[in-house]
Amino acid sequence: MTVTTLITLARPKSSTDRRRSTLLVAAVAVAGVFLLVGQRIVRVGSLDSATYSSYLTEDGLRPGVVTAAVLLAAAACALAFQALRLGTAARDRRLAALRLAGATPSQVRLIGAADAGTSGLLGGVLAGPLYFAVAAVVQSLPQVGRVLPSPAVGDLAAWPVLAVVLALVAAGAGGLLRRQLSTEPKSEPDRAAWQGRYLTIGAVGAALVALSLMPLSPILIFVQAAGVLLAASGFAPVAVAAYARRLERSGDPVRMLAGGRLLHTSRSIGRMLALLVVCGGVVGAVLAIGRDRQLSERELAASGDFIYTGLGFVALLSLFAAFAAGVAMLAGAADDLLDQRSQLAALNVFGMGASQVLRSVRIQLTGPAAVAVGAGVLIGGGLVCSLQNRVDPPADTSSVVVFVLIAAAVVGVLAGGVAALASGVLSGQVRDAVDPANLRTT
């Protein structure tokens, strides 16, 4: 296979394919920006505390900022990974055709790698200008908001290196995903087998969190965060599957359709929901800390700016991660609509029209998103409360607990509302899917 052939075969073929690679490029670019930010802060020497935020100037706080940047890059990578997995059914067919035409499994892998790799490279290249733009914007902020030093010459060297690394990682992921597709068709996997594995992961995460809550526990805050992430990643898919089965049994066709789809995408939806739980957790923690701070006027007067800037940034960043998860979920739903268009068109004949299908998509997204974010707020706020209780046992945290409960409900409902509004974005795809012209497609 020549390089020209490879590129021709790897290039996006349809409008869906192009949308998918745009999403992939954007996600990789954003990940690249956060990684460039991270490396810049790691390499920074001493900084003028009058020019920059104390998050940068104090040695003890700097690793926290770097961690935040890396976590955000991870969220963007999760979005990129989701984008890579989109359009599976259509791609399966194309790959099968390629295999029939005589492509070996390794060639199919190579095509997948080339496809993802070029998007990764493009994203990495775009990350450079984006990073310099972000850095310029941050420089224009007041001192408390300057959490990023002005760009250095080293960044110009780091940028191409990063672009190549991102391209290689993307190519690796693309090749890996195609490997599953290029092997022999496997027999239908046991529908319930994965749940045990996920429950174990969740239990490990929950155990970590529980350990961190014990008095005098040696477990650090980052381990606790990791515990929450593990627990959420493990339990969320199982919970989604359970909810989906309940919807399926409901006897309401719209809910059944939503349940069926959820049940068969519970793992990828669960991953996104885990991200939402963590985001909710951050918001909950921020709210609880903020609420607690309000109690001590003295402290607030001393370092209010510092605390609120930090909390604000964290909240903004978690919003970004939640946005990434939401985009990934919407993109997945749009993909499903395209895959199932002939079946949905057939349902239209039986009287399940566009509005009902859209309602079913809304049910798929709204409930789980609301519960995930609400649960996250509850977990984050709860952990902060327990921490404060431990640091300062006689302090009365009951008002904060009540506040966290209310906040969880409010933020959860808000998240559900956003999800419901966002699913309206898909109304065009839904209308296309139920079009009778699709009755003729396979």
């Binding site: 079946q343 039986f350 009778p436």
Partner: protein
């Protein structure tokens, strides 16, 4: 005998080409009609107009005594849901739902109780011979089994007319024959008229009457029974 379906001088044009140029066709209650013709002759478009899926630009379609042109979209949907069953080439079952839920879906959309709808679905799955797979997903079964479930789904509401658009197109000849025998028996069983769209003479031979289309007009109509 009352007409299950009455189509008069129906015309339909897509954005690029004309598919039907004034087609008339009547189907009696319980009758089996084969609509045949070379590909691109307008057979599928005719069925889509007859089933109230497409709105013809001229002419009238009367389904179970209701003139579809005089109905609102909601009423049309209701007529379609209660009076029309449809079987397509690939079954077109919802891949995420079990066979039983797929068959129950039209009844549930009609507002039936879930338990009753699922009982009725199971009853039809038994009649078409796939009751033991009622909890399986379409992807776990063969094309023929899926088509059987699609027949059950088409008949579960007790429609006046069942439309089958190349129902054996994805099956081999023996499975296709079994499918046709089932479809004919099921339509008789459910008291429905059956309109089969096919380009296959051996499938058309199951009908009481053949209506042959060519270039959007009826080329001939012959009685076979």
């Amino acid at each position: 005998m009352t007409d299950a379906l009455e189509i008069q001088r129906v015309e339909y044009a897509y954005s690029r080409d004309v598919a039907l140029r004034g087609v008339s066709l009547g189907v009696d209650a319980g009758e089996i009609v084969a609509v045949t013709g070379p590909s691109g002759c307008g057979k599928s478009t005719l069925v889509h107009c007859a089933a109230g899926i497409l709105r013809p630009q001229a002419g009238t379609v009367t389904l179970a005594g209701r003139n579809l042109a005089e109905l609102t979209e909601a009423e049309r949907t209701r007529v379609r849901r209660t009076q029309v069953g449809i079987v397509l080439q690939f079954g077109q079952l919802v891949p995420d739902l079990s066979l039983k839920d797929n068959v129950a879906l039209p009844l549930l959309l009609e507002g039936h109780h879930a338990a009753a709808a699922r009982r009725a679905a199971l009853g039809w799955l038994e009649r078409v011979g796939v009751a033991e797979d009622s909890e399986a997903l379409p992807s776990e079964l063969s094309g023929g089994q899926n088509q059987r479930a699609a027949v059950a789904r088409a008949l579960v509401t007790g429609p006046a007319v069942v439309f089958a658009d190349e129902p054996t197109g994805s099956l081999d000849s023996r499975a296709g024959e079994q499918m046709m025998e089932l479809l004919v028996a099921s339509a008789r069983d459910g008291g429905a008229a059956l309109v089969i769209v096919t380009h296959d003479n051996l499938i058309a031979a199951y009908a009481d009457r053949e209506v042959r289309l060519r270039d959007g007009v009826v080329q001939h109509e012959v009685r076979l029974s």
